[in-house]
Amino acid sequence: TLDRAGVEGRLSELDEYAVEQALSLVENGLSATVTFVTMGPARAVDGLRKALAMGGDDGVHISDEALHGSDALATSLVLARAVERTGFDLVICGMSSTDAEMSVVPAMVADRLGVPQVTFASALTVDDGSVTIRRDGDTAVEEVVATLPAVVSVTDQTGEVRYPSFKAIMAGKKKPVTTWTLADLGVEPALVGAAGAATAVRSAAPQPPRQAGVVVVDDGGAAAQIADFLVAQRLL
């Protein structure tokens, strides 16, 4: 089995890369079924249908009013229980550049499942009992290996995402999607949602717009003016 855990309701662009990688692993000979998993309100099904139009076998939608307001700890708990229930060898997630929480959820899910995670893959291969990813770091290109089962997150450098044809969209609509509630997963409602949140926002305020700075037109002396400014700001 091959699974993909999504956190958001809709299928985000970055999650599409995860779907694409799952499908191409199978097309390249990996013997596995692909199940898409998402947790979110009713409309989250749209994301599953979009993924199923791209390919794969079936979908799981975790929906429960008590999940509203869930933090990363709760989200990872629910996703881990769901993935355990479907059974899995590999969980593939998208990376996220803007949502800070996304960078903790894959590691948290992996921790709850008791398996390794390898993240920010720009390429991945699966063979006999292990997954190998390529990671482009600042100081080196790394090949990172994890024993299966494992959790992987993939970047936008993994390659083009397919566009489903009309026929594929229609076929996707016929694929089975199961809906699970917290009770189905045996998760206590008190542990999730706003009630179970381990963090609380105390205040939120718009940032004052940046004060307009000085703009000068270079007449040959701009370099000296920049240097003066840097000195005044104690940057030089």
Partner: protein, 320 residues
């Protein structure tokens, strides 16, 4: 006073600047304690003591070096269980964030990521995050367990506060389940000799307006005069003028240096997403209508090829 545990990161045995920033922040919340993954030698202890670490916990377990993330998370959780700190501070980079995430699960503690500021508050640290691409600031608190907080590099300048640290070697049991991922092969990229983008207090960035790959040599010279790093816009990296590793923005890196100097960069929203947190912005652009000027503290309407060489001379001259 209770302790505040800082996960220290080292590069080739040297403490990262971001870790010194965490020690500085930790002093606002309690007595800084440092967790070192590996042996704590004289040089390391000297630096940690200089920046105020009253305790140093050295976890000497080869698993921490050999396997990624999970063994460090176990080490962190183990020291938290033993010392019950008021908070845990970790650098908000890829590995730090994942170590913090796993430790939070093990401790069933709330985690707040990517903080730009942390201050003491009633009922625990008050953590400021910059959200919605920097347009809003929120303050949050952890309400369950030991607050685990990841902090962006450059949130504060490191400040020395010398003490003599008490050193303790800690043994941690790493289970088989935590020995699942490792680096099989590492091909180093040729080092630039410049600070890492994430740590750099000065970033000198160039865009399409630089005109060529060769023109980036000017930015490198300026960066070297200022002790900074070089970066680029996506237009410049897509043109192959500078490596993708140095791209700033939504699909590149996020930086928050003391000084961001943008040369020949128009200031598209996707670019700004990666440099909004910069304390001071200087822009050089030949188009007076370039959006970047609206986000610059000091702007020069001019040709980068004229302004940059003159600026390098000015900086060199003033440094004496």
């Amino acid at each position: 006073m209770s302790g505040v545990l800082v996960l220290v990161e080292t590069v080739n045995g040297t403490v990262r600047k971001a870790s010194l920033e965490l020690l500085t922040l930790a002093r606002r919340l309690g007595e800084p304690a440092a967790l070192v993954c590996g042996p704590a030698d004289e040089a390391l202890l000297k630096v940690l003591g200089e920046y105020g670490a009253t305790h140093v916990y050295a976890v000497e377990n080869p698993d921490l070096e050999e396997f990624l993330v999970a063994p460090k998370a176990e080490a962190l959780a183990a020291v938290v269980r033993r010392t019950a700190p008021a908070a845990v501070l970790v650098t908000a980079d890829h590995e730090g964030t994942e170590v913090a995430a796993r430790a939070a699960v093990r401790l069933d503690s709330g985690i707040i990521t990517d903080a730009v500021d942390v201050v003491a508050g009633e009922g625990g640290p008050l953590v400021t995050q910059s959200v919605f691409a920097g347009s809003w600031a929120t303050q949050s608190q952890v309400v369950r367990g030991t607050p685990v907080i990841t902090v962006r590099p450059n949130a504060v300048p490191p400040e020395a506060a010398p003490v003599e640290p008490v050193v303790e070697t800690v043994t941690v049991d790493v289970g088989a389940g935590d020995r699942g991922s490792r680096i099989a092969q590492r091909t180093p990229k040729t080092g630039t000799g410049r600070p890492d983008l994430a740590d750099a207090s000065v970033v000198v960035a160039g865009g399409r307006g630089m005109g060529s790959a060769e023109a980036f040599a000017l930015l490198e010279r300026l960066a070297d005069s200022l002790g900074g790093a070089v970066a680029a816009s996506r237009a410049a990296t897509d043109l192959g003028w500078y490596d993708h590793d140095f791209q700033i923005g939504q699909t590149g890196k996020t930086v928050a240096p003391q000084l961001y100097l943008a040369s020949g960069i128009s200031g598209a929203v996707q670019h700004r997403a990666g440099m909004r947190g910069s304390r001071t912005v200087v822009a050089i652009n030949k188009d007076p209508k370039a959006p970047m000027f609206r986000f610059a503290d000091f702007g020069v309407v001019g040709d980068a090829h004229a302004v940059l060489p003159a600026l390098i001379d000015e900086v060199e001259r003033r440094k004496g």
